[in-house]
Amino acid sequence: MPEETLGSLLGALYRRRLTIVLVLVGSLLAGTFYARLVGPDYVAAASVMIPNDPVGISLSTEGGNLPKGPLLPDLSDDARVGALGIFASGAVYDRMAAEHPDYDPRALRKAIRGNIDRGGNIQVLAYAPTPELAAELANDYAEAFQAELEEITLASLRRSFEAFVREEPLAEQRYREAHQALVDYLASIDTVDLDSETAQLLTERRKVEEQLLQLELHRVKGQAERPVLEAALAERPEMLTSLRKFQRNDAFDKLLARARDLSAQLAVARLEYRDVHPEIQRLQRELEVVQREAEELAEEQMRLDSEVTTRDAQVTEWMRRLAAMDVVEASYDAQRAVWAQRIAEIEPRLQRVPSYRAEVAERQSHLASARSYWEKVASRRSELDFHVRAGLDFSVMTDAMRARPERAKQVPTTAGLYLFCTIAGLAGGLFLALSMELLARMRASRPF
């Protein structure tokens, strides 16, 4: 085939205008024929929202049951996949057909589609020859969808509830068994409270060890001090004069008094007599005798009355300490034997404590686990009991979301049908005309 210009191509199209017109006419005629013969459908849409957090009842808190804002459609993939699964299963069609025996299930499957619109809401589209029927179908399907959704969700809740009802006594029994096992074990190891008993044993052992240490210290100290004390004692007398009492000499005191008296008599006598008087002579002689005697006793004016001799206090203390050392030494073996025996009694019990403790901890853990499980099961059972009895809202469809006949749309619209029949007819005519031209040219370039 020779190459062509754009003009020759347009010329070929002009020559084959009849083909283009015939395809266009055929397209329009077919559109008109089917529009008249079958008639348009009407599509009505009803919406259902699946809230993010279904409002429910809780035994523990109201926090999760209070909507935080407007109810929003659930845009999560899980919810979407779940909704699509319900659509695809056909269960809603079957439910709808069961509730409305006048509906043909096969016709329903052709006429109704479950969709998710741009806002994420579940959208039910129903096609029917009249707007009223379309709206009715859409609403019935939406209600059947809600009921199906509720049944599916509640079925799961009920199954869980039944399982919890069966499980709760078993959980309680397991808890009781664990509790009894712990009590039995504590009894078998002869303790009520292993922790406090262990603490007591440890305290006692520490005290005994301290006593032993003190004993050793005293003994070693005594052994070191003994030679020193003994040497010191050897250098000091044991007894010491601790008190001497003195009193005046009576004979001396009497001589002094006689002397004072004779002096007085002499003085008086000299007033009457002269010194040669015999009286005075006698008095002088007597005074001289007394004075001579007094002078002889002058060194014995004080006379020892009594003297006390006592033990040396330092020596006594040292001797006491020596005695104490002797006591310590004497009681050392006996005391040590007593403390060692006590240690020997405490130690084995303490050595068994780790194994006791591990065993008790394990049993306590079993007990705590069993208790927690029992409490959870009981709590969930109570919660589900509430939910199953009170019911939950799994979806929302307000009046405004229901399909209405006046909002049903005609499909296809007459304008759309003729517009697209025209455009597609022209495109088809163009293609056919050019194909026929190509065929003609290929024929012309025989042999091909």
């Binding site: 006419v25 077919a30 499909v411 495109a427």
Partner: protein, 501 residues
């Protein structure tokens, strides 16, 4: 309008009536389809694509619009066949288009089928067909044998068969067919132009994807199921990684940047060697494709295009090369000293740091696989099951060959590429046509893009890589004709007949 228009009555009266009836029937069929679409469009959309189809949900007459588009595309194809006078150009265009449109694998199959039909028709008409053979078939056969060892190495070879079959036709067949249909310099240039236009169309599709993504607030590209890598977050906002007509942004960037470098090379031809119109076309195409590469957000693509583009002036203007290199070095020094280069590196790295991290781990697996199975490797795609928790390919084509095909594969691919390099060198040294030498340098520089990017991606079995290799061989095959005249036995895309005076 030419005088060679055919008479109106192609088939005679009965034929005309039948043709008219066929037209009416065809129109009725179209009308029925539009009617059915009008009634059932949303039901059909939901049944076929699921609910909440992005953008087109609830859009009436969408399939009708698709029907119109299909009919117009077919009409356009037929018109192109009529205008070009044969099926050759449209088929060549379709094949070129299929290489930049991996998102539509049917195009490559359709193009190949049409080509085979066309060749069969020509062989029947002429009774013979000159089929230039190339030595490249031998290493290609080695590669095929190396690939086939996978069937021995793996326990589950059934899943490999479809991929093997596709690559056998899409990759290996082109090695045999392209030298047979592109035999002249004119054909080579035509094919390159088709590739360039196709790449530009692919970038135009990128802008469409950008607009759709902006409207839908989520990436709308052909990167199916790769939600982790279909967008990047930058300081300017989150951008979709556009794929154009390819299935991955890295592949798109690889393809269009390779062609962009070729366009830049040819666009910078000396003044008298290129018309103004062609220069504008090439350079505009380069800018257009470079913008396309930018918005793929493929870091390896940016690197490859940047380096290859910087090298082009060195070879195109060798006299000015020292000055250019000095300027380049000065710029690099300023960038280094000011910290601009480092900041740019970190900004680019942080675009998808996780992606950069995990590939080193898989590369390590590949090295381990090679060290344990050095001779024949672990089989094609074997790395997916080789203690590979990510089940991802090695992101390094060279390591991919080592790990999956072993030393035998290295030998096969080495001889494959070695032969091509030898042929190109020979062409560059011996050809008396500047066209050939220009192509040798141009395609070698363009191949730098592929060589660089394949250090970061796994494009071993991507058709575009094979196309570029065989195109290099085609340059050699074409250059063997040193007479300056087209061969007389051309049966595909023959030169236009001289216009009668």
């Amino acid at each position: 309008m030419t005088d060679r228009s055919l008479p109106l009555q192609d088939w005679g009266p009965l034929g005309r009536v039948l043709a008219g009836a066929a037209g009416l029937a065809f129109g009725a069929l179209v009308g029925w389809l539009v009617w059915m679409d009008g009634r059932l469009h949303l039901r059909l959309q939901i049944d076929l694509f699921g609910p909440e189809l992005p953008l087109v949900d609830d859009l009436p007459f969408l399939p009708s619009l698709g029907l119109v588009g299909l009919l117009l595309a077919l009409a356009g194809f037929v018109a192109w066949v009529l205008k070009s006078g044969s099926l050759d150009r449209p088929v060549l265009g379709l094949i070129a288009f299929s290489f930049v449109a991996e998102a539509f694998p049917v195009l490559s199959q359709a193009g190949l089928l049409l080509l085979l039909l066309l060749l069969a028709q020509r062989i029947l008409r002429h009774g013979d067909m000159p089929f230039p053979t190339t030595l490249l078939m031998l290493p290609a056969l080695l590669i095929l044998i190396s690939y086939a060892t996978t069937f021995v190495l793996t326990n589950e070879f059934l899943p490999i068969i479809p991929t093997f079959g596709y690559r056998l036709t899409a990759n290996f067949l082109i090695v045999a067919l392209l030298p047979a249909i592109i035999r002249t310099r004119r054909q080579l240039e035509i094919f390159f132009h088709f590739l360039l236009v196709s790449a530009c169309i692919s970038v135009a599709v990128e802008w469409g994807q950008f607009a759709l993504s902006a409207v839908a607030h989520r990436p709308i590209t052909f990167l199916a199921g790769e939600t982790a890598y279909d967008k990047v977050t930058t300081s300017f906002g989150t951008f979709p990684r556009l794929t154009g007509l390819q299935i991955h942004p890295n592949l798109q960037s690889n393809c269009i940047s390779t062609l962009a470098v070729l366009a830049l090379w040819f666009g910078l031809r000396p003044r008298r060697a290129l018309s103004l119109g062609k220069r504008v076309f090439y350079l505009s195409a380069y800018v257009w494709l470079a913008l396309g590469v930018l918005f793929t957000f493929s870091r390896s693509g940016w690197l490859a295009l940047g380096l290859a583009s910087m090298v082009v002036p060195v070879f195109r203007f060798p006299r000015l090369a020292p000055l250019y290199l000095m300027a380049l070095g000065l710029s690099a020094a300023i960038g280094w000293k000011t910290g601009l280069l480092e900041a740019t590196y970190h900004a680019v790295e942080n675009l998808q740091k996780a992606s950069a991290d995990f590939r080193w781990r898989i590369d390590h697996l590949a090295i381990e696989a090679f060290s344990r199975h050095p001779w024949f490797g672990i089989g094609t795609m074997g790395i997916l099951d080789y203690y590979n928790p990510w089940r991802l390919q090695v992101h390094d084509t060279y390591k991919q060959v080592l790990a999956e095909m072993g030393l035998f594969g290295v030998l096969a691919f080495g001889s494959f590429m070695g032969l091509v390099v030898w042929h190109l060198t020979k062409t560059y040294l011996t050809s008396r046509f500047s066209f050939d030498r220009d192509w040798v340098l141009g395609i070698s520089l363009a191949f730098v893009v592929i060589l660089i990017q394949n250090a970061f991606v796994m494009f071993l079995w991507v058709r575009f890589l094979w196309l570029m290799v065989i195109l290099m061989e085609v340059v050699y095959m074409v250059s063997r004709n040193q007479t300056g005249r087209d061969p007389d036995d051309l049966i595909f895309l023959p030169p236009p007949r001289p216009t009668p005076a």
